[in-house]
């Protein structure tokens, strides 16, 4: 499936929590122009929707419960700042916002904040996936090391040659080096070459 462009916002759903009616009406008008659906939230009730983005007024901070924090963490957050004091920014940072707007709001800036939030969230998710993958590979380094030592011992090879042999076996069998290393340590020998 093609991932939606961060520049095209039509059909996205936003959870909006804004205290000031003037700011809220500016957001409603701009979201209508952009084709974004709005679900409003008054800060008290349980959040029972899965929005694509959340706009939250800093006046709702700190959040009433950890459950609310978890719910908001599922989508990128845009913080609406009424003041730039460190005490307030500290509360905002707890939400790990992907973007922000300064109150009183104008129509200008809202589109850019949304695009930045979606793009930031997308890139952060990609980085998280990459970190997971790297962590997994790091954990399996021990297995690779054991396999290299085993091949060095059984084939009387130096470390670079032993690793090259394992890598070639992995390529031939279309497996990762980590997978083939696990097989070597389990079987006690290099798997037979195919083809």
């Amino acid at each position: 499936m093609t991932k939606p462009s961060s520049f095209s916002l039509r059909g996205r759903k936003a959870l909006v929590a804004i205290k000031d009616e003037r700011d809220a009406s500016i957001v409603r008008r701009q979201f209508e122009r952009l084709g974004i659906d709005i679900v409003t939230w008054d800060g008290d009730a349980h959040i029972d929707c899965r929005p694509d983005v959340t706009l939250i007024d800093d006046e709702f901070l700190p959040l009433a419960s950890p459950a609310q924090r978890t719910s908001l963490g599922r989508s990128p957050v845009i913080a609406l700042l009424g003041t730039e004091t460190p005490s307030r920014l500290k509360l905002v940072l707890e939400l790990d916002p992907a973007s922000f707007l300064v109150k009183p709001l104008r129509s200008a800036g809202i589109y850019a904040a949304l695009v930045l939030a979606f793009e930031r969230s997308e890139r952060t998710n990609e980085l998280k996936q990459q970190v997971l993958k790297l962590e997994q590979r790091l954990r399996s380094r021990r297995v690779v090391l054991a396999a290299v030592l085993q091949v060095m011992h059984t084939h009387a090879l130096a470390e670079p040659a032993a690793f090259a042999l394992i890598r070639r076996a992995a390529m031939e069998q279309r497996k990762t080096i980590e997978e083939i290393s696990a097989e070597i340590t389990a079987n006690g020998s290099l798997p037979r070459a195919t083809g």
Partner: protein
């Protein structure tokens, strides 16, 4: 009895790199003002206060500030480039005035203190690029001025071309007012692209068109050029080299509507038989009329009342019916495509069936739904490597 007079600011550059267009805006605005002041249907007259920022961006801020602070205007007609509009925007928003902006622009803005009378990107860029992709080529060579109009137009062109299996062959940008176009023309002659998209503005565009025409003619090449800003006064400035440019616009002098025939006749009576109105000039004329009709309907110059009175009311203008979409303050217009001829006019070959709603944020744009993807199109999509 003397009618009450309402002061209106008019800001347009009559000097500098786009002075030709600025003068067109002023001529059309003043024609509308004089017409309105002579009509019994309006129970007020407009007193026009003209300012010339000379194409200097910071001067727009000064002119706007002077008009609001010293003249006390609530309504301003004018600005041409987006850079000039962005200078004026903070002042009109802070002081709650209304800017009536005539020029077509690249979109992605929606201030409550601006009425966007010119075309939105879905009115001019989309029809042109889709025409190019369906009928000329999916490989496009882009030449433009190094500012937001060209950047955004090229971005949309790239998205549509890529979705259709095509590509942008080059994106060459020149500073505003730059006349050194030779290296780009040389590259075009060397690479022979199937089509050139010209988003240059002002004198750079005129220099480029002349050099492009001379070089391609000398090389025996027939490379189509397309534009979504070229207009009749510019065809006259450029001369014979301007013929054959495929252009997208909401207004051409050749529109066959009684309102336009009458407008052109009044124009020529006022400015000379050999002069021509332009798309942005005509749009300034429409802007002044939309403002006057809204003032009349509102019975006050208060901007909130005028904005409400302006929304949704159809005006049969020279370019056909137009009205302001109250949800985004942009105008509903009829897109058209035409090709420039040797007489300095445009031959219209396509127009939308009905006026089209403005879509300043291109929220309705679905690049995948481009007709250029149609398998029956003569230009079959190229095969691409899938990574």
């Amino acid at each position: 009895m003397t009618k009450p007079s309402i002061p209106v600011g008019i800001i347009c550059s009559q000097h500098g790199p786009y002075q030709a267009m600025g003068r067109e805006l002023l001529k059309s605005s003043m024609m509308a003002v004089d017409e309105i002041n002579s009509q019994d249907g309006f129970d007020f007259s407009i007193s026009a206060h003209v300012r010339d920022p000379r194409g200097v961006v910071s001067e727009y801020h000064t002119a706007c500030d002077d008009l609001i602070r010293n003249v006390g205007v609530e309504h301003i007609v004018g600005c041409y480039t987006s850079a000039s509009r962005k200078q004026v925007l903070p002042i009109v928003e802070r002081t709650d005035r209304l800017l009536w902006h005539p020029a077509r622009y690249e979109g992605f803005e929606c201030s409550d203190n601006v009425i966007y009378v010119g075309a939105s990107p879905n009115h001019n860029v989309l029809p042109l690029v889709r025409y190019v992709l369906d009928n000329l080529s999916r490989e496009i060579f882009c030449v433009g001025s190094n500012y937001v109009w060209s950047w955004e137009t090229n971005r949309v062109t790239r998205e549509l071309a890529t979705a259709a299996g095509g590509r942008i062959l080059a994106e060459r940008l020149l500073e505003l007012g730059e006349s050194a176009v030779g290296h780009i023309v040389d590259e075009i002659v060397r690479r022979r692209p199937p089509v050139v998209f010209n988003t240059l503005v002002g004198s750079s565009s005129y220099d480029f068109i002349r050099a492009f025409h001379a070089a391609t003619t000398a090389a025996g090449l027939n490379i189509p050029m397309v534009s979504c800003s070229l207009c009749e006064p510019e065809l006259k400035i450029v001369g014979p080299a301007s013929a054959g440019c495929i252009t997208s616009s909401a207004y051409f002098e050749s529109i066959r509507l009684p309102e336009n025939r009458a407008f052109v006749a009044r124009w020529k009576a006022r400015y000379g038989e050999h002069s021509s109105p332009s798309v942005d000039g005509q749009s300034a004329y429409v802007a002044v009329y939309l403002l006057a009709r809204a003032l009349q309907r509102a019975g006050t110059s208060d901007i909130g009342e005028v904005r409400r009175a302006a929304a949704g009311h159809r005006y049969n203008s020279p370019q056909g019916p137009v009205w302001i979409d109250g949800s985004n303050n942009h105008c509903v217009l009829t897109p058209r495509l035409a090709v420039s001829n040797a007489e300095g006019q445009f031959d219209i070959f396509w127009e939308a069936d009905a006026p089209v709603k403005p879509d300043p944020y291109l929220t309705q744009l679905d690049v995948a739904a481009s007709p250029a993807r149609d398998a029956t199109s003569p230009n079959a999509p190229h095969l691409r490597v899938v990574k």
